[in-house]
């Protein structure tokens, strides 16, 4: 990489009160809040798999690359602290791509008071690969995990699902503030962000919690994008099917006791709606409850590429 580009990028990097030593040394040094634990996650996005730079705005790709990592912090109800950005740039047009990626990341970092404290910028003869590590810290409530759901708990979801491919998968705002607010104000049992699709991420939640769930299909909040997608694409899927298998909604799927769920649904404490869509059960299976009262197994379909 050109020194000049690196100097330029450094001037763009947002900082915060956690940063003891920022970019320019062998590593960054961060001060975290006393008694907090740190929360770390990494997500890689690659050209041709998660985005197509020939057809998509690189600024939006930069936004997405950071946003998916912040969504993982949200899923743990962690407060964002810092991120490290590792770029492998194509040798052609690499400088422009790097600048535009940072242009997409910076406003999002600033919005969530996240410092970008370093990274590694390489170029090669291959396509663009972006790997970001986000670092957060737990609040006084500790982390929200995938493993705390219990039979009898209610299954709730923020926002509306499906059709993210029409735009939301690039432009979504991670539910960081929503997760922190819910986790602080109510006793949540477990949570996950919907990246692989409602169906698949519910399977993850159940597997880690050692229980099962029943989802009322007609309670799933279907987005207008899912309606549009069902009307135009050739897959033959209904809007409802897009909502439970589409993926990249980046909404929060979480478990609470029935009593807490009732309070949350009555309060509706967020700018986005919260819906109750089912309940956890003892038997380790994930079932769909249809409008006519029949039950079927909800397939474990969607993206599959995460190790953590």
């Amino acid at each position: 990489m050109e020194r000049e580009l690196i100097s330029h990028l450094r001037t763009l990097l947002p900082t915060n009160e956690h940063v003891v030593i920022g970019p320019g040394d062998d590593a960054a040094v961060l001060r975290t809040t006393a008694d907090a634990n740190i929360v770390v996650t990494t997500d890689a996005l690659t050209d041709g798999v998660d985005f197509v730079i020939a057809h998509q705005d690189v600024v939006r790709v930069g936004h997405k690359a950071l946003a998916v990592n912040l969504s993982d912090l949200a899923a743990m109800a962690a407060r964002p602290v810092a991120a490290l950005v590792s770029l492998v740039l194509p040798s052609t047009d690499g400088d422009r791509i790097a600048r535009q990626l940072y242009e997409g990341m910076s406003p999002l970092a600033e919005r969530f008071k996240l410092a970008i404290v370093g990274g590694d910028t390489n170029s090669w003869d291959g396509p663009l690969a972006i790997s970001i590590t986000a670092i957060g810290e737990t609040t006084f409530k500790g982390p929200l995990t995938r493993s705390g759901a219990r039979p009898g708990d209610m299954l709730l979801v923020t926002g509306e699902l499906g059709g993210s491919i029409l735009g939301k998968h690039l432009d979504f705002t991670p539910r960081v503030e929503e997760a922190l607010h819910l986790h602080e104000k109510y006793e949540l049992s477990a949570g996950i962000d919907i990246s692989d699709g409602l169906s698949r991420d519910l399977h993850h939640l159940c597997a880690e919690s050692g229980c099962g769930a029943v989802v009322r299909l007609d309670s799933i909040p279907v987005s207008s994008a899912a309606d549009r997608l069902a009307a135009t694409d050739r897959s033959g899927k209904t809007a409802n099917e897009h909502a439970f298998s589409g993926g990249e909604d980046f909404e929060l799927l979480f478990a609470t006791s029935r009593e807490v769920a009732d309070r949350i649904l009555a309060d509706q404490p967020l700018p986005v709606p919260i819906s109750s869509i089912g309940q956890f059960i003892e038997k380790q299976e994930v079932l769909a409850l249809h409008a006519d009262g029949t039950r079927t197994t909800l397939p474990n379909t969607g993206w599959e590429h995460h190790i953590s």
Copy 2:
């Protein structure tokens, strides 16, 4: 990725007492030592640039990918805590490559009591890209930075330099223990690991410290690999030139007062030799002092691709 592979990899991942929540959730949660700051660094390695998997043992590539990150923690005199591993695998033979990379990383992680707490494993139609983030914590002495060298300080280096391309660049052991020991026992002013070459990394150290340096060329500890390389390669470079510009030595280059340097050189407290090779000066230039007493400007040559 295949679920089966991910399950297999998880069983290999080393853990430690810092891990509150390991792989399997949206993010990992780590407990750090009270009063310690956290130290974070990321390095990406790519096929065709940092290694060539068609010609090199993938297990050794896995070792190297983790070792370069641990070397950055060593340069800050930080104690290793955890790492996150992000892999973008070629679609052909990706499973074997992933297993072998972890086979190379695991023994190194265990040696330094480092937990591998998660990551992201993807595949695509491109070549292998590896991005690792290492997390450490400061000791009671705080971090060792690049910016603390002062005119009059002595310039010291561990081990021997040059010719790493003959093997050491893949198989080196990062100077984690050496850095912790030196930083605990002596007052060091500044430090860096030699990844881009003595010449270039000394320029980094001087730039961040706002001073210059004079290096006595005949004091540079030249490795036998540099001699072999000088005897066989066609570049026409001397062993001494390989030692100051070769790169990927992953030795420690550090600054101390003359008094402390004298003690370190007398004590020789490490299993590897420590040599004094020069001195910091006020004027912001990096000079080479030749055996005949002449001085020339030491060129700022070597690898250039880091943002942090």
